[in-house]
Point group: C2
Chain length 192, copies 2
Amino acid sequence: MTSTTIFGTGNMANAIGGLLADGGASVTYISEGESGTAPITGDIVVLAVPYPAVDAIIDAYASQLEGKIVVDITNPLDFSTFDSLVVPVGSSAAAEIQAKLPASKVLKAFNTTFAATLASKKVGELGTTVQIAGDDADAKATLAAAVEAGGVSAIDAGALKRAHELEAFGFLQLTLAAAEKISWTGGFGVVR
Amino acid sequence: MTSTTIFGTGNMANAIGGLLADGGASVTYISEGESGTAPITGDIVVLAVPYPAVDAIIDAYASQLEGKIVVDITNPLDFSTFDSLVVPVGSSAAAEIQAKLPASKVLKAFNTTFAATLASKKVGELGTTVQIAGDDADAKATLAAAVEAGGVSAIDAGALKRAHELEAFGFLQLTLAAAEKISWTGGFGVVR
Protein backbone atom coordinates (compact mmCIF):
# COMPACT_ATOMS: atom_id res chain seq x y z
CA MET A 1 0.00 0.00 0.00
CA THR A 2 1.21 3.47 -0.82
CA SER A 3 1.77 5.53 2.29
CA THR A 4 1.54 9.28 2.05
CA THR A 5 2.31 12.14 4.38
CA ILE A 6 0.74 15.46 3.50
CA PHE A 7 1.98 18.71 4.96
CA GLY A 8 -0.95 21.09 5.19
CA THR A 9 -4.63 20.86 5.98
CA GLY A 10 -6.07 23.32 3.46
CA ASN A 11 -8.26 22.77 0.43
CA MET A 12 -5.47 21.35 -1.71
CA ALA A 13 -4.16 19.12 1.08
CA ASN A 14 -7.62 17.69 1.64
CA ALA A 15 -8.35 17.25 -2.06
CA ILE A 16 -5.06 15.44 -2.68
CA GLY A 17 -5.42 13.35 0.46
CA GLY A 18 -8.96 12.42 -0.46
CA LEU A 19 -7.93 11.39 -3.96
CA LEU A 20 -5.03 9.25 -2.75
CA ALA A 21 -7.19 7.69 -0.02
CA ASP A 22 -9.81 6.86 -2.69
CA GLY A 23 -7.05 4.89 -4.38
CA GLY A 24 -6.33 2.93 -1.23
CA ALA A 25 -3.30 4.85 0.00
CA SER A 26 -2.79 5.51 3.69
CA VAL A 27 -2.77 9.25 4.26
CA THR A 28 -1.41 11.12 7.26
CA TYR A 29 -1.55 14.86 7.59
CA ILE A 30 0.92 17.12 9.36
CA SER A 31 -0.71 20.43 10.24
CA GLU A 32 1.10 23.71 10.57
CA GLY A 33 1.00 23.34 14.35
CA GLU A 34 2.47 19.83 14.22
CA SER A 35 5.16 20.70 11.70
CA GLY A 36 8.62 20.22 13.15
CA THR A 37 7.51 17.63 15.71
CA ALA A 38 5.29 15.06 13.94
CA PRO A 39 7.34 12.42 12.13
CA ILE A 40 7.09 11.72 8.40
CA THR A 41 5.72 8.21 8.01
CA GLY A 42 4.86 8.13 4.30
CA ASP A 43 7.01 7.22 1.32
CA ILE A 44 5.34 9.97 -0.69
CA VAL A 45 5.47 13.38 0.97
CA VAL A 46 3.25 16.11 -0.40
CA LEU A 47 4.13 19.69 0.45
CA ALA A 48 0.58 21.05 0.26
CA VAL A 49 1.47 24.40 1.77
CA PRO A 50 2.01 27.85 0.28
CA TYR A 51 5.46 28.25 -1.25
CA PRO A 52 6.71 30.62 1.50
CA ALA A 53 6.00 27.86 4.05
CA VAL A 54 8.16 25.26 2.31
CA ASP A 55 11.53 26.37 3.65
CA ALA A 56 10.58 25.80 7.28
CA ILE A 57 9.57 22.22 6.42
CA ILE A 58 12.84 21.65 4.60
CA ASP A 59 14.78 23.04 7.54
CA ALA A 60 12.97 20.80 10.02
CA TYR A 61 12.75 17.62 7.94
CA ALA A 62 15.71 17.54 5.53
CA SER A 63 17.15 14.32 6.90
CA GLN A 64 13.77 12.56 7.09
CA LEU A 65 13.09 13.55 3.49
CA GLU A 66 16.20 11.80 2.17
CA GLY A 67 15.21 9.07 -0.29
CA LYS A 68 11.55 10.09 -0.22
CA ILE A 69 9.34 11.19 -3.07
CA VAL A 70 8.70 14.87 -2.32
CA VAL A 71 5.81 16.42 -4.21
CA ASP A 72 5.82 20.17 -4.72
CA ILE A 73 2.35 21.47 -5.58
CA THR A 74 3.01 25.18 -5.25
CA ASN A 75 2.21 28.04 -7.55
CA PRO A 76 4.80 30.49 -6.28
CA LEU A 77 2.96 33.69 -7.15
CA ASP A 78 3.81 37.11 -5.91
CA PHE A 79 0.35 37.57 -4.42
CA SER A 80 0.96 41.27 -3.81
CA THR A 81 0.97 41.92 -7.57
CA PHE A 82 -0.53 38.74 -9.07
CA ASP A 83 1.76 39.57 -12.00
CA SER A 84 4.89 37.45 -11.51
CA LEU A 85 6.39 34.52 -9.65
CA VAL A 86 8.73 34.83 -6.69
CA VAL A 87 11.17 32.18 -7.95
CA PRO A 88 14.19 33.16 -10.08
CA VAL A 89 13.31 33.90 -13.71
CA GLY A 90 13.57 30.72 -15.78
CA SER A 91 13.63 28.48 -12.68
CA SER A 92 10.81 26.96 -10.66
CA ALA A 93 9.80 26.31 -7.09
CA ALA A 94 10.36 22.60 -7.72
CA ALA A 95 13.92 23.18 -8.93
CA GLU A 96 14.63 25.35 -5.92
CA ILE A 97 13.30 22.64 -3.60
CA GLN A 98 15.28 19.90 -5.39
CA ALA A 99 18.45 21.97 -4.95
CA LYS A 100 17.77 22.17 -1.21
CA LEU A 101 16.91 18.45 -0.97
CA PRO A 102 19.46 16.77 -3.25
CA ALA A 103 18.85 13.31 -1.72
CA SER A 104 15.08 13.47 -2.29
CA LYS A 105 13.15 12.68 -5.45
CA VAL A 106 11.31 15.93 -6.06
CA LEU A 107 8.26 15.92 -8.30
CA LYS A 108 6.10 18.78 -9.49
CA ALA A 109 2.43 17.82 -9.51
CA PHE A 110 -1.07 19.03 -8.64
CA ASN A 111 -0.25 22.70 -9.35
CA THR A 112 -2.28 22.66 -12.58
CA THR A 113 -5.47 21.31 -11.02
CA PHE A 114 -7.73 23.30 -8.74
CA ALA A 115 -8.82 21.65 -5.49
CA ALA A 116 -12.41 21.36 -6.74
CA THR A 117 -11.34 19.49 -9.88
CA LEU A 118 -9.33 17.00 -7.82
CA ALA A 119 -12.27 16.46 -5.46
CA SER A 120 -14.88 16.07 -8.23
CA LYS A 121 -12.39 14.35 -10.59
CA LYS A 122 -13.83 16.51 -13.35
CA VAL A 123 -12.82 19.73 -15.10
CA GLY A 124 -16.25 20.69 -16.30
CA GLU A 125 -17.38 17.55 -18.13
CA LEU A 126 -13.81 16.42 -18.77
CA GLY A 127 -11.96 13.97 -16.55
CA THR A 128 -9.26 15.60 -14.43
CA THR A 129 -5.61 14.94 -15.30
CA VAL A 130 -2.67 15.51 -12.96
CA GLN A 131 0.51 16.57 -14.72
CA ILE A 132 3.69 15.25 -13.12
CA ALA A 133 7.23 16.41 -13.87
CA GLY A 134 10.41 15.06 -12.32
CA ASP A 135 13.79 13.52 -12.97
CA ASP A 136 13.14 10.15 -11.29
CA ALA A 137 11.04 7.93 -13.54
CA ASP A 138 10.18 5.46 -10.79
CA ALA A 139 9.02 8.23 -8.48
CA LYS A 140 6.82 9.64 -11.23
CA ALA A 141 5.35 6.19 -11.93
CA THR A 142 4.65 5.66 -8.21
CA LEU A 143 2.79 8.94 -7.88
CA ALA A 144 0.96 8.42 -11.17
CA ALA A 145 -0.22 4.99 -10.03
CA ALA A 146 -1.48 6.42 -6.73
CA VAL A 147 -3.36 9.18 -8.56
CA GLU A 148 -4.86 6.83 -11.12
CA ALA A 149 -5.90 4.38 -8.41
CA GLY A 150 -7.95 7.25 -7.01
CA GLY A 151 -9.77 7.73 -10.30
CA VAL A 152 -7.93 10.66 -11.84
CA SER A 153 -5.68 10.49 -14.90
CA ALA A 154 -1.98 11.27 -14.66
CA ILE A 155 0.38 12.36 -17.41
CA ASP A 156 4.16 12.42 -17.40
CA ALA A 157 5.01 16.02 -18.24
CA GLY A 158 8.73 15.37 -18.56
CA ALA A 159 11.83 16.20 -16.57
CA LEU A 160 11.84 18.43 -13.49
CA LYS A 161 12.97 21.24 -15.80
CA ARG A 162 9.40 21.26 -17.13
CA ALA A 163 8.24 22.48 -13.71
CA HIS A 164 8.96 25.94 -15.11
CA GLU A 165 6.30 25.41 -17.74
CA LEU A 166 3.89 23.77 -15.27
CA GLU A 167 4.26 26.74 -12.94
CA ALA A 168 3.65 29.16 -15.83
CA PHE A 169 0.57 27.09 -16.72
CA GLY A 170 -0.66 27.16 -13.12
CA PHE A 171 0.04 30.88 -12.80
CA LEU A 172 -1.90 31.66 -15.98
CA GLN A 173 -4.80 29.50 -14.81
CA LEU A 174 -4.88 31.29 -11.44
CA THR A 175 -4.92 34.72 -13.09
CA LEU A 176 -7.86 33.66 -15.26
CA ALA A 177 -9.79 32.28 -12.29
CA ALA A 178 -9.04 35.31 -10.12
CA ALA A 179 -10.34 37.51 -12.97
CA GLU A 180 -13.47 35.31 -13.15
CA LYS A 181 -12.76 34.36 -16.77
CA ILE A 182 -12.84 30.70 -15.77
CA SER A 183 -14.42 29.07 -12.74
CA TRP A 184 -12.65 27.26 -9.91
CA THR A 185 -14.44 24.08 -11.02
CA GLY A 186 -13.06 24.49 -14.55
CA GLY A 187 -9.75 25.67 -15.90
CA PHE A 188 -7.36 23.95 -18.24
CA GLY A 189 -8.14 20.32 -18.98
CA VAL A 190 -6.07 17.71 -20.75
CA VAL A 191 -7.52 15.90 -23.75
CA ARG A 192 -5.57 12.87 -24.92
CA MET B 1 -15.92 43.48 -42.26
CA THR B 2 -12.69 42.47 -40.61
CA SER B 3 -9.84 42.29 -43.09
CA THR B 4 -6.95 40.00 -42.35
CA THR B 5 -3.57 39.40 -43.92
CA ILE B 6 -1.88 36.16 -43.01
CA PHE B 7 1.82 35.61 -43.55
CA GLY B 8 2.40 31.93 -44.22
CA THR B 9 0.58 29.16 -46.01
CA GLY B 10 1.18 26.24 -43.66
CA ASN B 11 -1.24 24.28 -41.50
CA MET B 12 -1.61 27.02 -38.89
CA ALA B 13 -2.00 29.76 -41.52
CA ASN B 14 -4.74 27.79 -43.24
CA ALA B 15 -6.49 26.86 -40.01
CA ILE B 16 -6.51 30.46 -38.78
CA GLY B 17 -7.53 31.79 -42.18
CA GLY B 18 -10.32 29.25 -42.43
CA LEU B 19 -11.62 30.15 -39.00
CA LEU B 20 -11.59 33.88 -39.66
CA ALA B 21 -13.21 33.38 -43.08
CA ASP B 22 -15.93 31.30 -41.43
CA GLY B 23 -16.63 34.38 -39.34
CA GLY B 24 -17.01 36.53 -42.43
CA ALA B 25 -13.57 38.15 -42.46
CA SER B 26 -11.73 38.77 -45.70
CA VAL B 27 -8.49 36.82 -45.67
CA THR B 28 -5.45 37.37 -47.84
CA TYR B 29 -2.35 35.22 -47.61
CA ILE B 30 1.23 36.29 -48.26
CA SER B 31 3.37 33.26 -49.04
CA GLU B 32 7.07 33.01 -48.34
CA GLY B 33 7.76 33.69 -52.02
CA GLU B 34 5.58 36.82 -52.03
CA SER B 35 6.92 38.17 -48.73
CA GLY B 36 8.65 41.49 -49.22
CA THR B 37 6.71 42.40 -52.35
CA ALA B 38 3.01 41.71 -51.69
CA PRO B 39 1.34 44.58 -49.80
CA ILE B 40 -0.40 44.18 -46.46
CA THR B 41 -4.07 44.93 -47.00
CA GLY B 42 -5.61 43.70 -43.74
CA ASP B 43 -6.13 45.49 -40.46
CA ILE B 44 -5.27 42.32 -38.59
CA VAL B 45 -1.93 40.80 -39.62
CA VAL B 46 -1.20 37.25 -38.51
CA LEU B 47 2.42 36.15 -38.52
CA ALA B 48 1.73 32.44 -39.11
CA VAL B 49 5.34 31.57 -39.79
CA PRO B 50 8.02 29.89 -37.68
CA TYR B 51 9.65 32.27 -35.21
CA PRO B 52 12.96 32.41 -37.09
CA ALA B 53 11.07 33.74 -40.14
CA VAL B 54 9.53 36.67 -38.29
CA ASP B 55 12.49 39.04 -38.44
CA ALA B 56 12.56 39.13 -42.24
CA ILE B 57 8.88 40.12 -42.26
CA ILE B 58 9.53 42.86 -39.70
CA ASP B 59 12.45 44.16 -41.74
CA ALA B 60 10.41 44.27 -44.93
CA TYR B 61 7.12 45.52 -43.52
CA ALA B 62 7.84 47.61 -40.41
CA SER B 63 6.31 50.78 -41.80
CA GLN B 64 3.23 49.00 -43.22
CA LEU B 65 2.69 47.34 -39.83
CA GLU B 66 2.43 50.66 -37.96
CA GLY B 67 -0.99 50.97 -36.33
CA LYS B 68 -1.94 47.40 -37.28
CA ILE B 69 -2.96 44.56 -35.02
CA VAL B 70 -0.04 42.12 -35.36
CA VAL B 71 -0.73 38.60 -34.12
CA ASP B 72 2.22 36.47 -33.06
CA ILE B 73 1.31 32.78 -33.01
CA THR B 74 4.78 31.33 -32.58
CA ASN B 75 6.07 28.74 -30.18
CA PRO B 76 9.73 29.71 -30.27
CA LEU B 77 11.19 26.31 -29.46
CA ASP B 78 14.78 25.34 -29.87
CA PHE B 79 13.85 22.47 -32.20
CA SER B 80 17.37 21.02 -32.01
CA THR B 81 16.84 20.09 -28.36
CA PHE B 82 13.06 20.40 -27.86
CA ASP B 83 14.05 21.35 -24.32
CA SER B 84 14.00 25.16 -24.22
CA LEU B 85 12.88 28.29 -26.01
CA VAL B 86 15.14 30.50 -28.11
CA VAL B 87 13.81 33.77 -26.64
CA PRO B 88 15.52 35.37 -23.64
CA VAL B 89 14.66 33.69 -20.33
CA GLY B 90 11.61 35.35 -18.80
CA SER B 91 10.67 37.10 -22.03
CA SER B 92 8.59 35.92 -24.99
CA ALA B 93 8.56 35.99 -28.76
CA ALA B 94 5.62 38.38 -28.57
CA ALA B 95 7.51 40.80 -26.33
CA GLU B 96 10.50 40.67 -28.67
CA ILE B 97 8.26 41.42 -31.63
CA GLN B 98 6.50 44.28 -29.81
CA ALA B 99 9.91 45.80 -29.04
CA LYS B 100 10.78 45.72 -32.75
CA LEU B 101 7.36 47.11 -33.78
CA PRO B 102 6.61 49.77 -31.15
CA ALA B 103 3.91 51.39 -33.29
CA SER B 104 2.00 48.13 -33.80
CA LYS B 105 -0.51 46.50 -31.48
CA VAL B 106 1.08 43.10 -30.90
CA LEU B 107 -1.08 40.26 -29.63
CA LYS B 108 -0.14 36.73 -28.67
CA ALA B 109 -2.75 34.24 -29.83
CA PHE B 110 -3.27 30.85 -31.47
CA ASN B 111 -0.05 29.39 -29.99
CA THR B 112 -1.99 27.25 -27.50
CA THR B 113 -4.25 25.61 -30.09
CA PHE B 114 -3.10 23.01 -32.57
CA ALA B 115 -4.09 23.52 -36.21
CA ALA B 116 -6.46 20.56 -36.09
CA THR B 117 -8.34 21.96 -33.10
CA LEU B 118 -8.80 25.31 -34.86
CA ALA B 119 -10.05 23.56 -38.01
CA SER B 120 -12.44 21.22 -36.18
CA LYS B 121 -13.28 23.84 -33.52
CA LYS B 122 -13.01 21.02 -30.97
CA VAL B 123 -10.37 19.82 -28.53
CA GLY B 124 -11.62 16.28 -28.22
CA GLU B 125 -15.28 16.82 -27.27
CA LEU B 126 -14.59 20.27 -25.83
CA GLY B 127 -15.06 23.48 -27.81
CA THR B 128 -11.78 25.12 -28.80
CA THR B 129 -10.76 28.35 -27.05
CA VAL B 130 -8.17 30.80 -28.36
CA GLN B 131 -6.21 32.55 -25.63
CA ILE B 132 -5.26 36.14 -26.46
CA ALA B 133 -2.75 38.29 -24.57
CA GLY B 134 -1.85 41.87 -25.36
CA ASP B 135 -1.61 45.39 -24.03
CA ASP B 136 -4.22 46.99 -26.33
CA ALA B 137 -7.72 46.14 -25.12
CA ASP B 138 -9.41 47.22 -28.36
CA ALA B 139 -7.05 45.09 -30.43
CA LYS B 140 -7.78 42.08 -28.22
CA ALA B 141 -11.52 42.67 -28.52
CA THR B 142 -11.28 42.96 -32.31
CA LEU B 143 -9.41 39.68 -32.65
CA ALA B 144 -11.66 37.96 -30.12
CA ALA B 145 -14.75 39.06 -32.06
CA ALA B 146 -13.29 37.73 -35.32
CA VAL B 147 -12.46 34.39 -33.69
CA GLU B 148 -15.87 34.08 -32.05
CA ALA B 149 -17.63 34.99 -35.28
CA GLY B 150 -15.90 31.93 -36.74
CA GLY B 151 -17.34 29.67 -34.06
CA VAL B 152 -14.44 29.34 -31.63
CA SER B 153 -14.33 30.81 -28.14
CA ALA B 154 -11.78 33.44 -27.20
CA ILE B 155 -10.49 34.36 -23.78
CA ASP B 156 -8.56 37.43 -22.71
CA ALA B 157 -5.40 36.01 -21.12
CA GLY B 158 -4.18 39.37 -19.87
CA ALA B 159 -1.39 41.78 -20.76
CA LEU B 160 1.30 41.03 -23.32
CA LYS B 161 3.51 40.06 -20.39
CA ARG B 162 1.40 36.89 -20.11
CA ALA B 163 2.77 35.81 -23.49
CA HIS B 164 5.58 34.28 -21.43
CA GLU B 165 3.08 31.97 -19.77
CA LEU B 166 1.23 31.28 -23.03
CA GLU B 167 4.50 30.31 -24.68
CA ALA B 168 5.37 28.03 -21.77
CA PHE B 169 1.90 26.50 -22.10
CA GLY B 170 2.36 26.00 -25.84
CA PHE B 171 5.86 24.59 -25.36
CA LEU B 172 4.62 22.08 -22.78
CA GLN B 173 1.74 21.06 -25.04
CA LEU B 174 4.11 20.54 -27.98
CA THR B 175 6.44 18.37 -25.90
CA LEU B 176 3.49 16.20 -24.84
CA ALA B 177 2.24 15.83 -28.41
CA ALA B 178 5.71 15.11 -29.78
CA ALA B 179 6.06 12.40 -27.11
CA GLU B 180 2.65 11.03 -28.16
CA LYS B 181 1.21 11.56 -24.68
CA ILE B 182 -1.55 13.66 -26.21
CA SER B 183 -2.83 13.73 -29.78
CA TRP B 184 -2.63 16.61 -32.23
CA THR B 185 -6.45 16.73 -32.18
CA GLY B 186 -6.41 17.07 -28.38
CA GLY B 187 -4.18 18.96 -25.98
CA PHE B 188 -5.06 21.50 -23.35
CA GLY B 189 -8.62 22.74 -23.44
CA VAL B 190 -10.24 25.62 -21.59
CA VAL B 191 -13.29 24.95 -19.42
CA ARG B 192 -15.12 28.05 -18.21
